[in-house]
Symmetry: C2
């Protein structure tokens, strides 16, 4: 497993008077640590042990923790502190983990490995894996509702609404259902491919970005900018994922490489070729960074994360 | 399928000056109609159609709508109106339906029929059935958060917390995980059986009863009475379910009768015998009715529902 400190991206702020370079590797590693400590505390094993162990197995199985980090970063950029956003950040990771556990099931993508480890159902069986996903999703909402401190309740309700929409049929679940319907087809349109990724990947990234701002009561114009930012990085993220599926080795990826090709899945590189896919991802990232300029130097973490998406190799 | 109007239970209020009999059949039929209209509106079919159709298939597959009706009744008993509680009532039914769809999967209880109809995965396949459950659960929380009107946001947050706890590993999911672990065992203790039912069945019934009262800002002492009421009817409900599994015919039940016996599941009748099980259920119901006496005639619907649980034959 590669750790974020290997990303090697340092964004320097070139304006006079603010010469300190921003080290994304340090930033990501620090926040990943905070998120994992919070997740450790959030799900503890009690009777009936198996279900909690299964939930924890997948929740603590590593990963970049990108969604929670985006939520913390947006909360800070719009005037809050990261502690305020931590319950929401944990809920985003719980929801994301639910989708991974269910997607890996034999009835769905039938994956044996995830992040270099056996998938949940390979350890606990299909029934417990289904229940662990359900448990994580239900707990995500409970956790935001019970653990969010010092935020007006109407904002908490908005965050919950946004999270629910991002996960349900209008988001992740809808995207996955179309993805399943397209499997084995070689004539999938770019519109359908866009739909899949906007719902399966981008919707939860967008909810991650926006929920951090909803907690601070950010203005409509700020929320609009953040929506544009997150839609751009969401699509760029998926394009890079498709590229990596072709170019990265199994060892780097921690999952079966070339799986999309084997499954004859339509991907952005299969539609556009590798080079045009890379250019498109870069253009989306450039736009995403530009749209945050009104936030000044406070936007540096989110801008660096946008760069990180196209630069990552795993 | 038998309709609630066949239950034939009429509770008469014998105090002077309030001679009007309370007709539970009419009460249940009316509220079931309201709930089903609200559910019809809540989930409408749009692109991608299959996932919405699958969600609707199970959500609109009938049933007594007992959980939403309990929520509406408690809201009215504690000073609210039923319209206020309808989004929460719908969310309870969505969550309950999720648990049925997932429990019926081949990886879990492997049921082909539910309420006399083919189960979700028999129509849509396992993958869509898993996703439909996920979609219903996520939407349940979104629906409470976005549709609840004229209720202070802090009460909505409390309802969401309660619903999440009732569904997750501390509730339904935890109960189902122990139930699965006990399958095929003939030496299950009464403590374990109690745990299963308190979590798999009673937790969501309790959340149904309490959420209606949380929406009206009911006092702690009222909430305590409602907790006791719901725990009693939850356990009585399960005992009666076990009895019916032995005594009812498949036609009345709308599902495979005698399934618990075939699966060698430990049930209350297998521990206590049929007659003692019936007596225990009746005693729990009597206590439940008594504890609501401070609410006077306003408690009549919930008291009649308690009676209905032991009197039902399907």
């Amino acid at each position: 497993m590669t750790s974020p400190s290997n990303s090697g991206i340092v964004v320097t702020d070139e304006r006079p008077g603010t010469p300190s370079p921003f080290d994304l590797s340090v930033y990501l590693a620090e926040r990943k640590g905070w998120v994992e400590s919070a997740l450790e505390q959030a799900v503890q094993v009690t009777y009936p042990e198996t279900i909690y162990e299964s939930m924890r197995y997948s929740l603590m199985a590593g990963g970049k923790r990108l969604r929670p980090i985006l939520c913390l970063a947006t909360c800070e950029m719009t005037g809050g502190d990261w502690e305020t956003a931590m319950p929401t950040a944990c809920a985003l990771e719980m929801s994301h983990t639910m989708s991974l556990v269910h997607d890996d099931l034999p009835a769905m993508d039938n994956d044996d490995y995830r992040r270099g480890k056996l998938t949940n159902h390979k350890i606990y069986g299909d029934a417990i894996a289904i229940l662990a996903g359900d448990g994580l999703l239900a707990y995500a909402f409970e956790y935001v509702a019970t653990q969010t401190q010092a935020v007006p309740a109407d904002r908490v309700v908005k965050v919950i609404a946004r999270l629910g929409r991002a996960v349900g049929a209008a988001g992740l679940v809808g995207g996955q259902s179309v993805d399943l319907a397209c499997e084995g087809k070689t004539d999938v349109s770019v519109e359908t491919l866009d739909f899949i990724h906007q719902h399966k990947t981008a919707a939860l990234l967008e909810a991650s970005v926006l929920s951090g701002a909803l907690l601070t009561g950010a203005s409509t114009s700020h929320l609009q900018r953040l929506t544009q930012y997150s839609q751009n990085i969401g699509l760029a993220f998926q394009i890079v994922d498709d590229i990596l599926d072709i170019t990265a080795t199994q060892d780097e990826l921690g999952k079966t490489a070339g799986k999309d090709l084997q499954a004859q899945k339509v991907t952005y590189p299969s539609l556009w070729g590798l080079e045009e896919s890379r250019q498109k991802a870069q253009q989306l990232v450039d736009e995403a960074k530009q749209i945050l300029e009104p936030f000044g130097s406070k936007a540096r973490p989110l801008q660096a994360i946008a760069d990180y998406i196209t630069a990552r190799t795993y």
